[in-house]
Symmetry: C2
Subunit: 117 residues, 2 copies
């Protein structure tokens, strides 16, 4: 698969709300995930750790709706723009997430994901 | 200036339509600019070459309107999402540009810009 095909398939799975399957299919075993904030979870290493991070996020946020723009491709990377209307269970206050995710693909798998906000 | 301050000021100048001044103020002398397409202009090296690329683009596209989302920051990088309604003079056909720009800042200057579409 080309980078454009991988990006398109991955994005389509996210749009269908199936981020867990998208990660299972495309994340490399040694994927590294970088958040923009500093803290204990700013760098997350390995497919299993990233899976747990995703599971935690799904469990702790109620998603009312949202949209994903992209994919935007350059070389071995693609970017997505996320806008989500959510209520974090910790605060109960409805808010909007607006961020960019940048994915690096190596040997057909996502070796790095980095989030900007 | 922090990365967030630089990103905000740079973005504000772009929103005011003054991309030439934004580049003059923030581009490093040895900036490298990467387009997503392959071709003679896919990599552009140096502040003066990037300035000429911008000037060429302005001269060859009529911009009807648009929007810039962001900045989205992570570490020494920030991303912007561009949507522009333009007519390239070469074709005369009105079209929409939808892309992500990723900027890397070093010593207070933009050392790299990379565009995804």
């Amino acid at each position: 698969m080309t980078i454009a095909e991988i990006a398109k398939d991955f994005t389509e799975m996210l749009r269908q709300g199936d981020s867990a399957s998208a990660a299972a299919k495309y994340n490399a075993d040694d994927i590294v995930s970088y958040e923009a904030m500093e803290g204990p979870n700013d760098v997350c290493r390995g497919k299993e750790a990233v899976r747990q991070k995703g599971e935690w996020w799904q469990a702790n946020n109620e998603v009312h709706g949202g949209s994903i723009d992209g994919p935007y491709v350059n070389g071995d990377q693609f970017a997505l723009r996320f806008k989500f209307d959510i209520t974090p269970k910790a605060t109960g206050e409805r808010t909007t997430i607006d961020e960019v995710g940048l994915y690096t693909v190596r040997n057909g798998k996502i070796s790095e994901e980095r989030f900007y906000y």
